[in-house]
């Protein structure tokens, strides 16, 4: 645990700068494969490379400024209370929507999406989530299937 703790108590701007540098270097490496051209006749790779280089410099700058500045309380990368359940539920909602939308249609997808994501809030109960999910499903089907004619069928079996 100790090395992990050390990692998390680093200034968060080191990570911020690192991430930006990574994106910058990544785009340069990817854009290298396109035709770069010259300043006069720019190819598709020219602009991405300029941006990638700019991004790399900005990333180094962010980390560099963080290294120079004195430490402040909210600098560290410690998430106060990780909300694993809430995060999982919020992400599971749309993911279920994708799968159930493809497998079962609009009604099961809507119901599952709302029900599961509602469980993420600490004050929600199974009952309140159920009521909300039924309510949103009824309104959603009325609005999107009847009024706006979205192409997703209300029910279907299995076909992707």
């Amino acid at each position: 645990m100790e090395p992990l703790r050390n990692l998390l108590t680093q200034k968060k701007d080191y990570y911020a700068g690192g991430l930006m540098t990574l994106i910058g270097v990544g785009s340069v490496l990817e854009a290298r494969h396109y035709n770069v051209g010259t300043l006069f006749h720019m190819g598709p790779g020219f602009f991405p490379i300029i941006l990638g280089v700019t991004m790399t410099c900005l990333g180094i700058l962010i980390a560099g400024v963080a290294a120079m500045a004195p430490a402040v309380d909210d600098d560290q990368l410690i998430i106060p209370k990780p909300e694993w359940r809430a995060w999982a539920c919020i992400l599971a909602g749309p993911i279920l929507f994708i799968f159930l939308g493809n497998l079962g249609g609009l009604i099961p997808a809507t119901f599952a999406c709302v029900f599961v994501s509602a469980l993420g809030d600490r004050e929600s109960t199974v009952k309140s989530a159920l009521v909300l999910a039924v309510g949103v499903t009824v309104c959603g089907v009325a609005l999107f299937s009847y009024l706006l004619q979205v192409s997703l069928p209300m029910w279907r079996w299995g076909a992707l």
Partner: protein
């Protein structure tokens, strides 16, 4: 000049009311204006719902509409939410919409003294005054600006965009370097897809779905929907309904209140309309600056923060005049000042309308219809907010646990219906996760949208400018107008470095918002 602007405005009213012989039919555009401001007002009141997320959810629904209806409804959400956001700040002390964070400072003390109704009443008056001024500014100034902008070649457009991007990313909230990094990230996202000239797919990583580029709806809903929900869930303070019992008869301000608020209201309006013209300084900066100015010139600055009515009237007027004025650079130059404007430009582009100085002459219906809808929409909002205050106050008590799951469903179905493709929903989830990481690392994701929307046009103009000048970068400083914009960019960067060295890099807006949130 003035006369022609007025004739054009009359044309705008004709567009949204329809020609006189059709008046006994349903006024199609009026219905959409009303829908827009109504949805905006509701979203503004609901704590924890954002304007950006709402506009992006509605965006796919507008694909089938006429361009005028689409743009005036989406714009209505933006200024309608400003009316609603003030209620949230004054009665609950929740700065759910950044422009109204400053209003908490004096609005909530007034509520605690039992004068919440008066604060709301003066807010509605100040908002209408500010908005009216902003609309007049747009009516008369935008056509003038267009005359200048039509003379711009690719190099001028390019350096103006650079200025817009720099200002948009450095003057907003948070660290300026991080803001610029977000803009560049947005530009990179804008590159994804087939190259306009050669058709080479760029940054598509073999996914054919990405050949058309990143979907703007998926990007906006990932960043301002899913990432925002992950950030807010279980973090909302319990809503204190002790003071929310406001009745209509409490709202009319006394004569003394009115006299006190009169000049601050006008000063706020003027500051707001100035801020709207500087790219990158939207309503949030305007309200903050006007509050600071008002406190400084007041004879009794010690009353501020303890329920001074000036402290409500002034930032509210300035927010509204800035919100309306924000449309000026967006509609006349095609340069959006903030993420909301970027989204509206995206909506126009989807409708097949190319933003830029030629917009007013090529699509007078869109521009003047929009201006006319501002007048109608603001009058609707005043009517909505005064007699129906009881309903809005009830909406404040809807808990977050009902809001975000419903919003997630709207996000899923909205993103799906852009292309009838579940891939987009997956894209939204991925962007949402990444956006949450960015939020945790102290980035504000709004400039991403700015870069994303401007990126393709920026690249196109840059390439064209280089082609004309035979690859000579000096063209940007040799042509006088372009040189002016470039020097403004340099000035902006120098000013940022100077400010950073003096204040250790913390922007003042950031200081005020957490303080108001307590």
């Amino acid at each position: 000049m003035i006369l022609s602007a007025l004739t054009d405005l009359w044309h705008g009213f004709e567009v949204i009311f329809g020609p006189p012989y059709l008046w006994h039919f349903m006024p199609y555009y009026l219905v959409f204006t009303f829908l827009g401001v109504l949805i905006g007002n509701i979203v503004g009141v609901l704590p924890g719902m954002g304007v950006l997320a709402t506009i992006s959810i509605l965006l796919p629904l507008t694909f089938g509409m006429k361009p005028v209806a689409a743009i005036l409804m989406l714009a209505g959400v933006f200024y309608g939410a400003q009316y609603g956001g003030a209620i949230c700040s004054i009665l609950l002390n929740l700065p759910c919409h950044p422009p109204h964070a400053v209003t908490c400072l004096d609005g909530y003390p007034m509520t605690k003294q039992g004068r919440g109704g008066v604060a709301l009443g003066i807010t509605v008056i100040a908002s209408f005054v500010g908005a009216s001024w902003g609309i007049m500014e747009m009516t008369f100034l935008a056509p003038v600006l267009v005359q200048v902008a039509l003379k711009f070649g690719p190099s001028e457009v390019c350096s103006l965009m650079l200025l817009g991007l720099l200002a948009g990313s450095t003057l907003a909230r948070g660290s300026p370097i991080k803001g610029v990094a977000m803009t560049v990230f947005g530009l990179l996202l804008g590159i994804v897809g087939a190259d306009i000239e050669t058709g080479t797919p760029r940054f598509a990583f073999g996914l054919t779905e990405l050949d058309d580029g990143v979907e703007i709806v998926a990007l906006a809903l990932g960043l301002f929907g899913i990432a925002e929900f992950m950030n807010t869930v279980n973090q909302t303070a319990p809503i204190n309904t002790k003071y929310t019992n406001v009745k209509l008869r409490d709202m009319w301000p006394a004569k003394a209140d009115f006299r006190r608020a009169f000049w601050p209201m006008w000063r706020g309006t003027w500051i707001g309309s100035l801020c709207a013209l500087i790219p990158g300084t939207g309503p949030t900066i305007a309200s903050f600056v006007s509050y600071a100015v008002e406190k400084k010139i007041s004879r009794t600055p010690e009353r501020f923060g303890h329920g001074a009515i000036e402290g409500v009237a002034c930032p509210e007027a300035s927010t509204h005049s800035s919100v309306q004025g924000d449309f000026i650079p967006t509609m006349s130059l095609g340069i959006p000042g903030d993420a909301v404007m970027a989204l509206l430009l995206g909506a126009l582009t989807i409708q097949g309308i190319v933003p830029g100085p030629q917009l007013i002459s090529q699509h007078p219906d869109v521009f003047w219809g929009l201006v006319a809808s501002f007048w109608v929409g603001n009058i609707m909002l005043v009517i909505l907010n005064v007699p129906m205050i009881g309903i809005w106050v009830k909406l404040l008590t809807i808990p977050y646990r009902y809001l975000y799951p419903s919003a997630l469903f709207f996000i899923c179905i909205g993103v799906y219906s852009t292309n009838n493709d579940m891939f987009q929903v997956g894209e939204t989830i991925a962007i949402g996760i990444f956006g949450y990481i960015l939020l945790q690392l102290g980035f504000h994701p709004a400039p991403i949208l700015l870069g994303f929307v401007l990126g393709p046009r920026f690249e196109e103009n840059f390439r064209r400018a280089m082609l004309i000048s035979r690859g000579d970068l000096l063209v940007f400083v040799e042509r006088p107008i372009s040189a002016f914009f470039v020097s403004l960019c340099v000035l902006l960067i120098l000013a940022q470095i100077f400010v950073r060295l003096r204040t250790n890099g913390r922007s003042k807006v950031d200081e005020v918002i957490p303080r108001a949130a307590e």
